[in-house]
């Protein structure tokens, strides 16, 4: 089994700074430069944070799934450290997504929540991720914890498309919701810039969080201190 290594490169900090810069730029364009949308008016500007968050959230889930699979094949604890990061960041982004979605839904649909397939699937996966994070807290043995969370992550990830499909089906029997499907070119710039902004932030978070996890794993997996001859003699 591979022991965890803690990197000390500056890359995450660079990424965080880049991410903030992109988000500030993209949001400026989205809030003040881009025109208001035809039907949704200014409320539609929420899209410039909501859609980037959504795209990157899906990436984080894919990342967590990837880490889980790689860990099970390679038995390398570094991948467990990354999985830990992926789970936490994924849960954070899922929660943020649900909040943003609710804030957008209130003025456009008139309700805070609706059984839109995307909202519902996100909420279900949020609970799945929180469950796995909770599981990690209850398992003391780091190797067992790693194997179990990898298994649970794989199971939850495979569930996500099934949940989405079943809710879409279920939902289509009730009502249709309209959302902007086609985005015209005037809206592209802030969307793209913010998408990269969230991406850089997210990668920076994942790297830093993996380091914290790796540090703790090193601590847990460290061999007990070797006794010198004197100390061993005292014990005898």
């Amino acid at each position: 089994m591979e022991m965890p290594r803690v990197s000390t490169s500056r890359t995450p900090y660079v990424l965080l700074a880049l991410g903030v810069a992109c988000l500030l730029t993209g949001s400026y364009f989205g809030l003040f430069v881009a025109p208001a949308e035809e039907y949704m008016g200014n409320v539609q500007r929420i899209m410039y944070v909501h859609v980037p968050t959504a795209w990157n959230w899906m990436l984080s889930v894919l990342f967590a799934f990837g880490c889980a699979v790689v860990f099970l094949f390679k038995n390398d604890m570094n991948w467990d450290a990354r999985l830990e990061a992926g789970l936490e960041v994924g849960a954070l982004m899922a929660f943020l997504l649900c909040c943003q979605g609710a804030i957008w839904a209130k003025p456009t649909w008139g309700v805070w929540w609706d059984w839109d397939p995307r909202l519902t699937s996100t909420a279900v996966l949020l609970f799945s991720l929180l469950g796995i994070v909770a599981l990690r807290h209850f398992v003391d043995d780091p190797v067992k914890r790693a194997i179990w969370s990898a298994v649970a992550t794989i199971v939850a990830s495979i569930d996500l498309p099934i949940v989405y499909m079943s809710v879409k089906w279920w939902n289509s029997l009730h009502q249709q919701q309209s959302t902007p499907q086609t985005v015209s070119s005037q809206f592209h710039l802030p969307l793209r810039v913010n998408a990269f902004g969230v991406l850089f932030l997210m990668i920076g978070f994942l790297m830093l969080r993996s380091r914290i996890a790796a540090m703790r794993l090193q601590h847990e997996l460290a061999a007990p201190p070797v006794l010198t001859g004197e100390e061993a003699g005292e014990l005898a």
Binding site: L130, G131, F138, I147, A152, I162, V163, S166, W169
Partner: protein, 219 residues
């Protein structure tokens, strides 16, 4: 090997059938409480009867699933079982099938309770049986996998539902919808697609969890 494992599971369950009675009472009590939560609105009760049935089953499953590894946890029997020249797949599928049977029997037993409490009678009994069989299979496969994990933890009562509930949402949705159509009528023949979804869910999870079980129980 699978038949041996299955025989052992069924024997264990038969020996603890008084526990089954207690779980049935729990399930029936849950259905009763749901009706109090809605109040004496017969229309609403009938409309949501399918949902209540499956919620009651789901809650009961946390009891039965958590208990299913109880025997293996005593005296480290699980390790002993794994040392035998049998494969962990037999252990998993034996357990999962036994859990499935237990939940299906519970589901069937709760149907008359539902009929009486919510005035939710139906003539489509075979259909209902099919839905209960497929739906409880969907609960049992991931449930057995997670039960094996959480049985080894101190906080097992808490963690099992936390992990299981989000996962089985598609199976729950499909079971509730299909049952609802059986009770309230299905003019456009939509129940079939829900049953197909259930079947797909079952196939995916019975294979996936079988593969992953070995990882969860080995030392």
């Amino acid at each position: 090997m699978l038949t041996a494992a299955l025989r052992k599971e069924l024997l264990l369950q038969w020996r603890s059938r008084s526990q089954m009675m207690a779980v049935f009472v729990f399930g029936a009590a849950a259905l009763l409480l749901f009706s109090f939560a809605i109040g004496p609105n017969t229309e609403a009760l009938r409309t949501f009867s399918a949902g209540f049935l499956w919620l009651g089953l789901l809650l009961s499953s946390t009891l039965t699933l958590a208990e299913s590894f109880h025997a293996e946890m005593e005296n480290r029997a699980l390790e002993g079982l794994l040392l035998l020249p049998s494969n962990p797949h037999a252990l998993y599928y034996g357990k999962a099938i036994a859990n499935w049977l237990q939940l299906a029997v519970l589901g069937v037993a709760l149907v008359p309770v539902m009929v009486v409490l919510y005035d939710a009678g139906t003539t489509q009994l075979l259909n209902l049986l099919l839905i209960i069989v497929l739906g409880t299979a969907g609960l049992s496969a991931p449930g057995t996998l997670y039960a094996a994990m959480t049985a080894q933890l101190k906080a097992k009562q808490m963690i099992l539902p936390l992990l299981l509930f989000p996962l089985i949402v598609p199976a729950l949705l499909a079971s509730v919808k299909a049952t609802s159509f059986a009770i309230l009528g299905d003019p456009m023949g939509q129940a079939t697609s829900w049953i197909v979804l259930l079947l797909a869910f079952d196939l995916i999870y019975w294979s996936l969890c079988g593969v992953l079980f070995r990882l969860v129980v080995e030392e």
